[in-house]
Amino acid sequence: MNRRGHVAALLALPMLWLVGIYIFSLVMLLITAFWTTDPFTSKVEPGFTLRNFEQILTNPAYLSTAVRTLLIALAVTVLSILISIPLGIFMAKIARPWLRAVLAVAITLPLWAGYLVKILAMRVTFTDNGFFNWAMEPFGVTGPGFSQTTVVLTLTYLWLPYMAVPVYAAIRQLPPNLFDAAADLGSGAGRTIRTVVLPLIKPAIIAGSVFTFSLSLGDYIAAKFVGGSTQMIGSIIASNINLNPPIAAAFSVVPIAFVVIYLLSVQRTGALERM
């Protein structure tokens, strides 16, 4: 077989997966967004209408839900970054090997548990009679209950490993002499992190943020179980998926658009090429 044949054979399965299953089903879904639904039997009827998109843009409830979901996803991403950087520096540069191993297990341990189990664990933690209020009672602090705050905390808990692992790996690869040089030049810890560490691990942060951001945008189970009355984009899709699939399909374009805008904006920083 010639070289081209080898490449084709190598790519056959992934391309079949990517085009045949992944892209095809997505395109089919997006086409549905232009179809209509019989208002009574809720049967989907092929056709062409922009009404579904018009509804998303004109219905204040839909708009506010989209904005709320975007803010939640950004908050989860920022919180994950704020936790991951000091954690990564400590693990990679300060902790002894045994402690590093313990922390590595602790970060990845939640990945072993089922997604729903983790959300229910957060639900139990944040009920009024739950662990959080019990532990914080001596300090006179009461928890956020089921609210938007709890949704952000829960999603951060769920997706943190996707940020912490790449950030830690990137910091580990930083040569120790960079830190020494920074110290020799009179830079304090804060300045070293800001001017030396951050620029070098930016690709890792961006890689992690693609996960935390897009996974949070698509989630609705957390809002359902720990959000109280919080509604996210996923809640609207879930409510409509059986009754009005076209509007659900139209709404699923919103997180896709957010992610595309996000990727384009980080691409402009040049970070994606170094990933």
Partner: protein, 393 residues
């Protein structure tokens, strides 16, 4: 309050009159008062034949269990394949695939199934157990009887009650106002049901407290009445601790202390296993649900399906389902079987028609006003779904 039954019967006769008239498919002009439902002519199964060997059922959790389906398989040779559905919308969607023979549809799904041509009219002669013992309130309801034809075999029913934590709510509430008014002493600790059909609960409250809106049936709301219901729901949103669709979440919300009162089912209160939780059917009345077996229009195994409907309508099996799920059985003869059965029937008010006369069973809202009004167009279920999403903003 007017009896629900009379209104239901009136609505049925209106529907029948309209349908036997000249209701045309796709006729949007409902001003003339014709019921704009095109009920496709699906043939009825005439007589029983040989069993096909299996039957595929979409059911609520707890409706089809080996405890009674094994005996059925032994008797008939029909293997029972169960698919549990979580919501009415999911049930409708699954039935549309044509892969299932039977569904345990609730009233908010059944009209959609009938109008969509997804279920077939039933030959009640082939279901001898569907007899005199079926409780009065579950016979010939609008949500399973159209055009004089029966589409459903009743399984059981229940009311959406007001449950409260008596350690916090020390005086028994007599009105739903504690769950709806912004100045409720329990603001921030109220649980509400999470589905578009919950709009009807707001409508039931408005019927009693804002009679000038002229709501006669919570499932027949014109645009103005729907707007008022949504306004009330938005007000409630301000005092809601949580919305529930998942029973487990509802129970943990009460037990965990986040909620002290709100919408519930008798069975959920029972499952808290705590006497502190009590329930009441408030003076305004309430909504409720009523489930019925419906036969797919494309059933591959109609004979096994009919055998199943007959089998599960017997006092013993119908009672077993009702006890397992926690609801009032459709077959009243079950209540007289033994003391445990009687206790179950008493707890769930099974034969108390006066109790259920205050209950408006879930019905799919359609454009034809089922309260008999002909001068306005009522809002349909899709509009309810859109409106519902605005409640939570």
């Amino acid at each position: 309050m007017r009896s629900r039954l009379t209104v239901g019967a009136a609505a049925v006769s209106v529907a029948v009159l309209a349908l036997t008239g000249c209701a045309a498919a796709g006729d949007e002009g409902s001003a003339s008062g014709e019921l704009v439902i095109d009920v496709p002519d699906v043939p009825m199964h005439e007589e029983l034949g040989d069993y096909e060997g299996s039957v595929d059922i979409v059911a609520w959790s707890g409706f089809v269990e080996p405890a009674w389906s094994d005996a059925f398989t032994e008797d008939t040779g029909c293997v029972v394949n169960r698919r549990v559905a979580g919501t009415s919308d999911e049930m409708v969607q699954l039935m549309r695939t044509g892969d299932y023979d039977l569904v345990s549809a609730s009233g908010d799904a059944s009209l959609r199934l009938i109008a969509g041509g997804d279920v077939a009219p039933l030959n009640l002669d082939l279901i001898p157990n569907f007899g005199d013992d079926i409780v009065e309130g579950m016979k010939g309801q609008l949500y399973d009887t159209i055009n004089g034809k029966s589409y459903g075999v009743p399984i059981g029913r229940g009311a959406n009650i007001l449950q409260y934590n008596s350690e916090v709510v020390t005086e028994e509430p007599t009105s739903w106002s504690v769950a709806w008014e912004a100045d409720s002493p329990y603001a921030g600790e109220v649980i509400a049901y999470d589905a578009p059909i919950y709009i009807a609960d707001a409508a039931v409250y408005l019927m009693a407290h804002e009679p000038e809106l002229g709501i006669e049936n919570p499932y027949a709301l014109d645009q103005e009445q729907l707007d008022a219901a949504i306004e009330l729901l938005k007000q409630q949103n301000g005092i809601v601790s949580e919305y529930w669709a998942d029973p487990a979440a509802q129970i943990t919300s009460f037990v965990g202390g986040n909620t002290v009162l709100g919408t519930s089912w008798e069975v959920l209160r029972k499952l808290t296993e705590d006497d502190a939780f009590k329930s009441v059917l408030p003076e305004e009345g309430s909504t409720g649900w009523s489930d019925a077996w419906m036969l797919s229009a494309e059933s591959d195994s109609p004979n096994c399906a009919y055998a199943w409907m007959d089998y599960t309508s017997s006092p013993e099996v119908n009672g077993a389902i009702a006890m397992n799920f926690g609801m009032a059985p459709a077959n009243a003869a079950f209540c007289e079987l033994d003391d445990a059965a009687q206790a179950h029937c008493d707890y769930y008010n099974a034969t108390d028609e006066e109790y259920f006369s205050k209950v408006w069973f879930w019905t799919t809202p359609i454009e034809q006003c089922i309260d008999g009004r002909t001068d306005v167009r009522c809002t349909n279920f899709q509009e309810w779904t859109d409106a519902w999403l605005q409640v939570k903003g």
